[in-house]
């Protein structure tokens, strides 16, 4: 298992051997393990039958312990069966493996086959189950015996005096996967004939009962849940959606088209409204052939839907299913769902609703347990030149005094090492250049003039409207000092405007540069070509809409990501393209520079986010795990983490150091389109197409707030420089300001909440909303706080 996983990650992550020593050493993250959500728990999806058998055998012991063992995702190697999860990677890896096995068998290379099989352990069942019917005999029998022995091994000793129900279920499962000639196997064998490896992917759906019974099963369960006690009903209702989906897919897979249709029509109305988008995809999927290329389907297949249910509710459910001998549903629960059982009170409907909605259910509790260094890095000490101080002092007597304490506060903040901060050199960061230091000084000066915002002192908003943007404005970025604005357009251009009187100039031609006196003081000024001065520079190079743009902190570079699958690095000195980073082969939806420069992150349709360094043409890290497009990517202020928001309705936080996914936030009901970290690094705000903004506590891994008010996609989010105000801009043509201090004021971060992850969100959106500002049919694409806390908003006027 371990070997296999290693191999997979090596395939997934390209190593970059020749990095300079200061660089983050490229490293194979075990992100692939995170990738398929439900892999570290109880067994592979492919060997469906045996998992069902094993865990039912374990679970039926009546004692809770075996169940805990199943659900608690023991570390690799600790528990024999559950940990042996070979199909950690993407499904195609497995496909490949199966194909190889098949080939070996066909060419009579028994030994090699055995060896490989030993490596891959459980895969043999899948192969057997899916193999051509003729061949099954021996291998199938082998598999069955192996499986049976494992079942007994996994059930601790004779602790499971099988009740008749489970015995039956185990038996059916085994016969379904191994022997095949039974009634359920019929259809499966028909389907399998030609393409064994593809069917292996889908083999999880191979075994099935009478298609006409599905509706009965489902409505029986529905009736049971609706009649259960109120406190359990809400929890058990979570089962509806995943069961519905998997039952439907089973019907479709087994080519019961009409039954599938009627099943869908009968029950899809019961599902929660936030699953509508997925249901729409499902509804169009009516044939087995469709399932092959459908990504949504693959998501359901490869990842387990995670449910969090209290022990009482779970016991209730289990008892019911056993009484009814409802094996069909029980199998699905075992194979496709991951039930995270907790002790204590069942959660309320509100608590559940707050957390569900993502493509693959909630995040597992332990997914959010690892430590995150969310503190800020220590700022390098920079001596503010004395003459500047004097200048300030001359201006006004009171100023220096005021300034001193403030500066001290800033200084003290940075001097005292934040206990939550990562070690200073956890991620190698580029050294500060002189120009950076100058900029820092400028920043500090501006900081002293910063407006203290609050509910009584709202910021002014200056709106930059892009007029005549017929071609469509798709991305905007503003430099940190608010001197430049970049716009990415659907016509593949990137345009850079200067919004200060200082015009944009490019560097002179090489021949002219050689004439310059390099010793002169104003050499930096002299290298610029006055003739090229203009307010606007257009950068041509992409061949598709530009969906992301990001300035480097030092304003020398601009990144843009586009539909054409590339991320381009532009020089703002010469206004030419320097590098095209190819890696995403599909549209790249977003890109962003690290707050310290040098690194940048990109995310796209290929469902992964990549970490790059500007001087490497290949990514340093690949953050894989999202089940749908990565729509937006943001760096943590300390540059050690990257947050990604995805169309699978989850937000993930990745560790740059090792590529691990350290947080999974679920709760959004639509694809996530905007992300922002609070300036202190503790909180994350995310906005989605559902118009809601959610606030997260990174340290505790908890949702801490919900801001309702927008009526359309939230495209842009930004905290004020001191984190007092959160500004959100939306497709509904409004900018809204929220009281961030109040939102984070009384957090429920007691141990209980932290431990259980049960959150009670206050319904205080209206109190937190400080202002709503309508624009004239201009969606707000970007928001920015200047160093003095003036809001800059940008968007393209779109006549209705």
């Amino acid at each position: 298992m371990a070997a296999l996983a290693e191999e997979q990650t090596e395939v997934a992550v390209k190593l970059e051997p020749e990095g300079p020593p200061t660089l983050l050493p490229p490293q194979a993250g075990d992100s692939a393990g995170e990738g398929s959500g439900g892999t570290t728990n109880n067994g592979p999806n492919g060997g469906g039958g045996n998992v069902a058998a094993s865990s039912s055998a374990g679970g039926d012991g009546g004692t809770p312990k075996p169940t805990v063992a199943v659900s608690a995702s023991a570390p690799a190697g600790a528990a024999p069966v559950p940990a042996a999860a070979p199909e950690a990677g993407a499904p195609h890896d497995r496909q490949t493996l199966l194909a190889v096995l098949q080939f070996l068998r066909q060419s009579n290379l028994r030994e090699a086959e055995e060896a490989l099989r030993r490596e891959a352990r459980l895969l043999e069942e899948a192969v057997a189950g899916s193999g051509a019917p003729g061949e099954v005999d021996s291998a199938g029998a082998e598999a069955a015996s192996a499986l049976l022995s494992r079942v007994t091994a996994s059930a601790p000793g004779p602790a499971a005096p099988d009740p008749p129900g489970t015995g039956a279920s185990g038996a059916t499962a085994v016969s379904g996967s191994a022997s095949g000639p039974a009634a359920p196997g019929k259809v499966g064998s028909v389907a399998v004939e030609d393409q064994p490896d593809v069917s292996a992917v889908l083999s999880a759906y191979n075994q099935q009962g009478d298609p006409t019974m599905y509706e009965e099963y489902y409505s029986g369960l529905k009736h049971f849940i609706e009649c259960s006690l109120d406190c359990h009903r809400a929890e058990l209702s979570q089962l509806f959606y995943p069961l519905f989906v998997h039952m439907y897919l089973e019907l479709v897979y087994n080519q019961h088209e009409n039954e599938a249709k009627s099943f869908f029509e009968k029950f899809h109305g019961d599902q929660e409204c936030y699953y509508q988008d997925d249901l729409r995809v499902l509804s169009s999927l009516t044939k087995k052939e469709h399932m092959k290329g459908n990504e949504t389907m693959l998501d359901f297949r490869t990842s387990k839907f995670v449910l969090r249910i209290s022990r009482d509710s779970y016991q209730l459910l289990k008892r019911h299913l056993q009484e009814k001998q409802n094996n069909q549903i029980w199998n699905i629960v075992q194979e496709h769902l991951y039930i995270d059982i907790f002790d204590g009170m069942p959660r309320s409907k509100q608590q559940i609703d707050a957390m569900v909605g993502s493509l693959a259910g909630e995040a597992k509790r332990e997914a959010n347990k690892s430590k995150v260094f969310f503190g800020l890095l220590k700022e390098p000490e920079i001596e503010v030149p004395l003459d500047d101080e004097d200048e300030e002092g001359e201006n006004e007597e009171g100023k220096p005094k005021k300034k001193k304490p403030k500066k001290d506060s800033i200084g003290s903040k940075s001097k005292k090492q934040d206990p939550n901060a990562p070690p200073q050199n956890r991620i190698p960061l580029p050294e500060l250049k002189d120009s950076d230091k100058l900029d820092k000084i400028m920043n500090m000066k501006e900081t002293t003039k910063r407006v203290r915002l609050g509910p009584d002192c709202l910021p002014s908003i200056c709106f930059y409207t892009f007029l005549n943007a017929y071609q469509g404005l798709t991305a905007v970025d503003v430099t940190d000092d608010s001197s430049l604005i970049a716009g990415g357009f659907a016509d593949s251009t990137v345009r850079v405007w200067s919004v200060t009187p200082k015009k944009l100039r490019s560097v002179k031609q090489a021949s002219d540069l050689s004439l310059i006196d390099k010793e002169s003081d104003d050499v930096l000024e002299r290298i610029m070509d006055e003739k090229t001065a203009s307010e606007l520079k257009i950068l041509y190079g992409h061949s598709g809409p530009v969906y992301g743009a990001s300035f480097s902190p030092d304003r020398n570079y601009l990144l843009s990501s586009s539909e054409d699958g590339t991320v381009r690095l532009w020089s703002l000195q010469t206004f030419t393209c320097l590098v095209g980073y190819k890696g995403h082969n599909y549209p790249v939806w977003d890109t962003q520079f690290s707050p310290y420069g040098y690194y940048f992150v990109s995310g796209g349709h290929d469902r992964v986010a990549r970490l790059w360094a500007t001087d490497h043409y290949q990514p340093l890290r690949i953050f894989a795990g999202h089940l749908a497009d990565v729509n937006c990517t943001r760096f943590h202020p300390n540059s050690n983490y990257v947050a990604t928001g995805s169309a699978d309705r989850t937000v993930r936080l990745w560790d740059v150091l090792n590529g691990n996914c350290v947080r999974i936030f679920t709760g959004h009901k639509g694809p996530i389109h905007s992300l922002t970290f609070s300036p202190n690094g503790r909180f994350l705000a995310t906005g989605a197409t559902d118009g809601r903004v959610l606030l997260w506590d990174i340290g505790h891994g908890l949702m801490v707030g919900e801001l309702k008010g927008h009526t359309d996609t939230v495209c842009s989010l930004r905290f004020s420089r001191d984190g007092e105000i959160l500004a959100s801009g939306s497709m509904d043509n409004t900018v809204r300001l929220w009281d961030a201090i109040k939102a984070f004021e009384d957090l429920e971060t007691d141990d209980f909440t932290t431990a259980t992850g049960h959150i009670n969100l206050p319904e205080n959106s209206q109190e937190l909303l400080l202002g709503t500002y309508m624009t004239k049919s201009t969606p707000v694409v970007h928001l920015h706080f200047t160093r003095r806390n003036l809001v800059l908003a940008a968007g393209a006027y779109s006549p209705q």
């Binding site: 249709k261 869908f264 200082k502 349709h605 197409t689 709503t772 500002y773």
Partner: protein, 678 residues
């Protein structure tokens, strides 16, 4: 409901006939039904898949509308060759045809004559992207500038007027604007109050609506003063600017009560003093108020109607009734009343019927002087063909006698004579087109005399003329052109002939200006419709003070026929060569150009106003969709951009160089300017 929708979704598949049609088009004649069914299932699924991917591109492109390029990208994602060059301008370009028991949607691909394309003048180069900054909010308060949406949208004004209780509820949507409005209205000093107010009010579920504030902020007072002074002052240029501001500025509704009082009081005083000029100015203010799309005027109609009516039917409007052209004022006001009727008349307030009654009463009265008589008839005539038919035509004979008795009889007073003369021409003007429509063609002098008495012969000749004109027009419409004929002096020009750089107001438009019909039609659709009988005036008026713009208008008349002649198909481009911004101010819309042939004798005329050309890179406001108001108003000190109480220092210029709001905190003002120093 949602279920319904989804049910439909799950069931939508292409009809299998489509597959047959496609197969046939590819040369496969016989295709089995079963195959078709399989194909439709597959194709429907693939199409849905692509559409769902395309949606992704729409979302990432930050748009609300799916475009053809989204589909292209989705196809590309699936490694399918995109459909190059398939770019529908607006709608899906499918046509529908049925026949032979088959229904068919097809894509119409016209054969294009290359020479047509070559000869078509090039469309204007689209304007380039540009950035424009404005203040969306200044310390939490949204300034009422044209770049921002109106602080209180019309619906809200209406809601406040009609359902005061409902709008008093603490609606979350309204909260923002209300807050902003409150601050904008109550000047700077109220800021503190405002800040404290919400928590207090939010305390309980009962929230009293802050009654509409009747104090204007200092800026608003200043604005009001400037505007009213400019409107009735002597400087025509300033007046034009002021009227423009009234007609377009979004933040005026708080001043509406003042304006309406100003107008009604002004009319009252000036009627007594017979100050024709001022009355005209006031009427133009009414017009401007009516033109402002952001104002909810219903509440003030009761003040405005009497004022306007006075200007129509008053016995005397000027000091020298024999010389001054008060008739034009009556005509103008009559048109205004018609417009008011059209906009505000409902079954509950019965404005139209009440107005009609008033006019009729004063007309039938024997002792009514000729001036009032003229006004009443004009007012009625403007209300439309039906009113003319039912109320004016039956009285033609009687009125004809009266006119004859004055015109032919002993000269009693010159004034009466003039009055009778005007009434006569008015009646002829309005009735002829109606009659031309009503009566069958052979126009017999005697028949007319028998029916309409002494006016008969004149009427007959006018009807004949009207018919001829209609026929001519119909012909010209067929050639996709419109004729502008018979220019007449406008109010502006007759009242305030402007010396100096102003162009001679009336351009004698020679013969026929041919304008591509599409331009006119589309523009007319946008213009506020106004019920006026067909032979209205179409006045080409240039309010621009620059000579070039005149030139443009003239060149339009000279260069246009060329293009008009060469092409017989509708010219899709705009008017060739340099084009002034042509705006149809008031148009007769009873018969759109295309249906003009059906109404023979109707002569349509247009007022073409050319605004001063912008000269800026941002281009003409008429054609390009920027939120920038016509530039005349924005740089003007009169624009109400400073309405945000006390926040903006007086004299600051509004955006594009956004003024400096009061410094955020204690820093110098420049620090919070949107172009912060790096």
């Amino acid at each position: 409901m949602a279920e319904e929708k989804k049910l439909k979704l799950s069931n939508t598949v292409l009809p299998s006939e489509s597959m047959k049609v496609v197969a046939e088009s590819m040369g496969i004649a016989q295709i089995q039904e079963e195959t078709c069914q399989l194909l439709t299932d597959e194709v429907s699924y693939r199409i849905k898949e692509i559409a769902q991917d395309a949606l992704k591109f729409m979302h990432m492109g930050k748009r609300q509308k799916l475009t053809t390029s989204d589909i292209d990208y989705a196809l590309k994602l699936k490694n399918v060759e995109p459909l190059y060059g398939f770019h529908a301008q607006e709608f899906i370009p499918f046509r529908f045809a049925s026949g032979g028991g088959r229904e068919l949607y097809f894509y119409e691909e016209k054969e294009v004559d290359l020479s047509d394309i070559i000869n078509t003048p090039l469309p204007r180069v689209p304007l380039d992207v540009c950035l424009k900054a404005h203040w969306l909010s200044i310390e939490g308060c949204q300034p009422a500038i044209p770049e921002n949406p109106p602080p209180a949208p019309k619906e809200q004004q209406k809601a406040e007027a009609t359902e005061p209780l409902k709008s008093a509820k603490p609606g979350q949507e309204e909260d923002g604007p209300l807050k902003g409005k409150g601050q904008g209205a109550a000047a700077a000093d109220s800021k503190g109050k405002e800040k404290k107010a919400p928590p207090l009010l939010e305390g309980g579920p009962l929230r009293l609506k802050p009654r509409s504030i009747h104090e204007l902020s200092v800026e608003q007072q200043l604005y009001y003063k400037e505007i009213t002074e400019a409107c009735v002052g002597s400087c025509e240029a300033k007046r034009a600017e002021a009227l423009q501001s009234i007609a377009t500025d979004p933040g005026l509704y708080q001043m509406l009560p003042r304006f309406s009082t100003f107008i009604s009081e002004g009319v009252r005083v000036n009627v007594v003093q017979n100050n024709l000029a001022l009355l005209i100015y006031l009427m133009r203010m009414v017009k401007a108020l009516m033109d402002n799309p952001t104002l909810y005027l219903e509440k003030y109609v009761h003040e405005l109607i009497p004022a306007v009516m006075t200007c129509i039917v008053s016995r005397q409007l000027c000091l020298r009734p024999d010389v001054d052209n008060h008739w034009a004022l009556r005509d103008f006001a009559a048109r205004l009343v018609a417009q008011i009727c059209k906009h505000f008349s409902t079954t509950t307030n019965n404005i139209q019927s009440r107005i009609t009654k008033t006019f009729t009463k004063s007309w039938v009265d024997e002792k009514t002087p000729w001036t009032t008589r003229y006004g009443s008839i004009a007012g009625l005539a403007e209300l439309g063909h039906d009113v003319i038919k039912t109320l004016i035509l039956p009285r033609l004979q009687q009125e004809g006698e009266r006119i004859r008795s004055v015109l032919d009889g002993p000269v009693l007073s010159n004034i009466d004579r003039i009055g009778a003369d005007h009434v006569q021409s008015l009646l002829l003007k309005h009735c002829a087109p109606v009659l031309a429509k009503l009566r069958p063609p052979p126009d017999n002098q005697d028949a007319y005399r028998a029916e309409f008495g002494s006016l008969g012969p004149l009427l007959c000749s006018h009807v004949v003329k009207a018919r001829a004109q209609a026929a001519l027009q119909a012909q010209q419409v067929n050639r996709t052109t419109l004729t502008i004929t018979q220019p007449r002096p406008t109010l502006t020009l007759s009242q305030a002939p402007q010396p100096g750089p102003r162009t001679p107001g009336l351009l004698k438009v020679p013969g026929s200006i041919t304008l591509p019909v599409q331009t006119l039609v589309s523009a007319r659709a946008a213009a506020p419709p106004q019920p006026s009988p067909p032979p209205t005036k179409f006045i080409v008026m240039s309010s621009s003070s620059s000579a070039p713009s005149t030139q443009q208008v003239l060149s339009l008349s000279t260069s246009a026929p060329g293009s008009g002649c060469t092409t017989t198909s509708p010219v899709t481009t705009t008017v060739p060569s340099v084009q002034p911004i042509v705006k149809l101010v008031s148009t007769a819309t009873t018969a759109p150009a295309s249906t003009a042939p059906s109404g023979p004798g109707s002569v349509q005329k247009y007022i073409v106003v050319s605004l001063p050309s912008t000269g800026e890179g941002k281009g003409g406001p008429a054609s390009h969709p920027s939120p920038v108001p016509p530039p005349t108003s924005s740089p003007s000190p009169l624009s109400s951009s400073a309405l945000c109480g006390g926040k903006q220092e007086a004299g600051d210029s509004p955006p594009p160089a956004p003024g400096t709001p009061k410094a955020n905190g204690s820093q110098p003002p420049s620090s919070s300017s949107p172009q912060p120093a790096p």
